[in-house]
């Protein structure tokens, strides 16, 4: 750890700010300048996946899509914890197994809650 404290020590922070800002300005200007532009009427129309858009995207949709998506994320993240655990399974030994059972058990209780609340019933 350095003992002296001068305003020179702020330089790394200022550099970081400058680089972050400079990168955005640089790339935006550069793409604007060197990108070829041939504007035709078809190109300037808003499109989605190569097809002309139909209607407005901002319309209400069933909240159930959102619920299913969020539950998927929840149980997906759970699996992330299992990979490192499985790789180190031997080192963790019996304690690791018990801890994983507690973790999975808690999630199972959450799953029971979801089922009982009929969060997965579409109707």
């Amino acid at each position: 750890m350095e003992a002296q404290s001068t305003s020179l020590n702020y330089l790394p922070i200022i550099f970081q700010l400058l680089v972050a800002l400079g990168f955005v300005v640089f790339t935006m200007t550069l793409t604007h300048l060197i990108g070829p532009k041939r504007k035709t009427a078809d190109k300037l129309v808003a499109f989605e996946s190569g097809i002309k858009s139909i209607g407005n995207a901002r319309q209400p949709f069933s909240i159930k899509y959102f619920l299913v998506a969020i539950l998927f994320v929840l149980f997906d993240v759970e699996v992330i914890f299992m990979y490192p655990w499985a790789v180190n399974f031997r080192e963790f030994g019996l304690n690791g197994l018990i801890e994983m059972f507690i973790f999975m058990g808690t999630l199972l209780l959450g799953f029971i809650y979801i089922i009982k609340k009929r969060a997965l019933d579409w109707d």
Partner: protein, 479 residues
């Protein structure tokens, strides 16, 4: 982990287990009443377990957690506040929400997060506790989703809390860059080897103060306070004002004590400016408010400014002063928001000051309870607030911080105006404001009122005979 680790952690384990248990009770479709009563019991058990585990203090679970007299006291205080909030919630939510049950699960989780903050001794546990607390609060603030203000408050809190968490994390990263450790006491050891505070370190500290200051709602991070206090359901507002701030303040104090930040004049200057500005801004902004929840929001900014007056000197009585002030502030605030909760009706909370007109002639007990809590917030003798303020002033003067002490006294005088304004309105004898009587749950209504009356007696007891509590607090040490 050894068996004694589990023993020391039992209040937190109980809170975590309770949230799962309540979730299962909801799954088997029990009534709101049963769920409220069982969560009350579970809060009482975890509160008891903090007393029960006091015999092994001080105790460490390296490197993350630390248990000592102070942390145990704050944990008990946080769980106690949640217990009171829980009592008040039944009457409030039963008539407003068709499914108020998940509220209790979130309340347990938020309490858990706040308790983790109070015992953390490491950046990782600090951040973990903060996120458990904050993520639960997003949902709690917007719980009454039919109300416009509620959604607005929830979204505001979400954006601002996420933003300030980013600052906190970057600050932690900078401190880690400079010291190479995230443990509070090890950071303190590294810092002791230098004469001047390194620049990267103080930059990191400043960024951390943004995140912490947001949670504590101190100047200049106070902008959200009034809107979110107004938009949240009244019991949740009580929780934000007490439990969520208490845990954060405890960890801030522990951090500054561990790094001995009070030896560096730069840090003292920063904190003094924050304290002075919070005291003045909080009290001045409250003057022209006509909304009781907003008045209490601005008064909370000022009160955390007062707490910093005891915080900055870091002398022998600092710890005692902070503990006592937090105790008196928590009890007083819970009482004040309790009255707001009880007077709220189905459509709106009792936030307009006109609702309190001539309250004394209709509900003398509620009016007296609110009077006691207003006097205590103002710091009038014979209430807990006076002893707390006296303590804070003594700590500030002992450290020789005269400017802070003078500002504290002056801003308290400004504060007196709006506290007394609420009291005079309650006692004015004019045409009665229409008050809709609550007959739906007389039992719970009486229980909530009784809890508030008991809290009022505690306020008076702490003001008249504080010896017993002071003896208890004097025995605290921070390891």
């Amino acid at each position: 982990m050894s068996a004694s680790d589990f023993y020391a952690l039992s209040p937190l384990l109980l809170l975590a287990g309770s949230s799962v248990l309540i979730m299962l009770l909801i799954a088997v479709r029990l009534s709101h009443r049963i769920i409220q009563i069982s969560s009350l019991l579970l809060f009482a058990i975890s509160l008891y377990s903090t007393v029960f585990t006091a015999d092994i203090l001080p105790y460490r679970i390296p490197p993350l957690l630390i248990f000592d007299g102070f942390s145990s006291f704050i944990t008990a205080l946080i769980i106690f506040s949640s217990l009171v909030v829980n009592i008040l919630s039944y009457v409030y939510f039963d008539e407003k929400e068709e499914s108020p049950k998940e509220y209790y699960v979130l309340l347990f989780l938020c309490t858990l997060g706040s308790c983790v903050l109070a015992i953390s001794n490491h950046f990782v546990s600090l951040f973990l506790g903060l996120e458990i607390l904050t993520v639960g609060l997003y949902a709690l603030i917007a719980y009454l989703r039919g109300r416009n203000h509620s959604i607005e408050a929830g979204v505001k809190y979400l954006v601002l809390a996420a933003f300030s968490s980013a600052f906190l994390l970057f600050g932690m990263a900078l401190i880690y860059l400079e010291t190479g450790t995230m443990n509070f006491s090890e950071i303190g050891e590294r810092l002791r080897t230098v004469d001047n505070i390194p620049v990267i370190f103080i930059t990191g500290l400043g960024m951390m103060l943004v995140g912490v200051g947001f949670k504590l709602a101190i100047f200049p991070f106070h902008m959200w306070t009034a809107d979110i206090y107004q938009g949240s359901p009244a019991p949740v507002t009580a929780f934000i004002a007490t439990a969520s701030k208490g845990g954060m303040f405890a960890v801030l104090f522990r951090f500054f004590a561990s790094i001995q930040g009070f030896n560096f004049p730069e840090i003292i200057t920063i904190l003094s400016v924050v304290a002075i500005a919070s005291m003045l801004v909080g009290n001045l902004l409250a003057l022209r408010q006509n909304n009781v929840k907003r008045i209490l929001a601005y008064s909370s900014i000022a009160h955390f400014g007062y707490l910093f007056v005891a915080f900055i000197p870091r002398n022998a009585i600092s710890l005692e002063a902070i503990s006592f002030y937090l105790l008196s502030y928590f009890i007083t605030t819970l009482t004040a928001f309790g009255i707001v909760t009880l007077l709220s009706v189905r459509e709106t909370d009792a936030e307009d000051i006109g609702r309190y007109k001539a309250l004394f002639w209709q509900h003398p007990i509620l009016a007296c309870v609110l009077t006691a809590s207003m006097l205590s917030l103002a710091g009038i003798p014979l209430t807990a607030g006076f002893i707390g303020k006296f303590y804070v002033l003594a700590a500030g003067l002992q450290g020789g911080f005269w400017l802070l002490a003078i500002i504290l006294v002056l801003s308290s005088v400004i504060g007196l105006y709006y506290y007394l304004r609420i009291i005079t309105i309650m006692f004015s004898k004019e045409e009665h404001a229409e008050i809709i009587e609550k007959k739906a749950h007389p039992g719970f209504y009486v229980a909530s009122s009784a809890a508030l009356v008991i809290l009022t007696f505690v306020i008076l007891l702490l003001g008249i005979y504080p010896d017993a509590v002071i003896k208890l607090l004097g025995g605290f040490s921070m390891s």
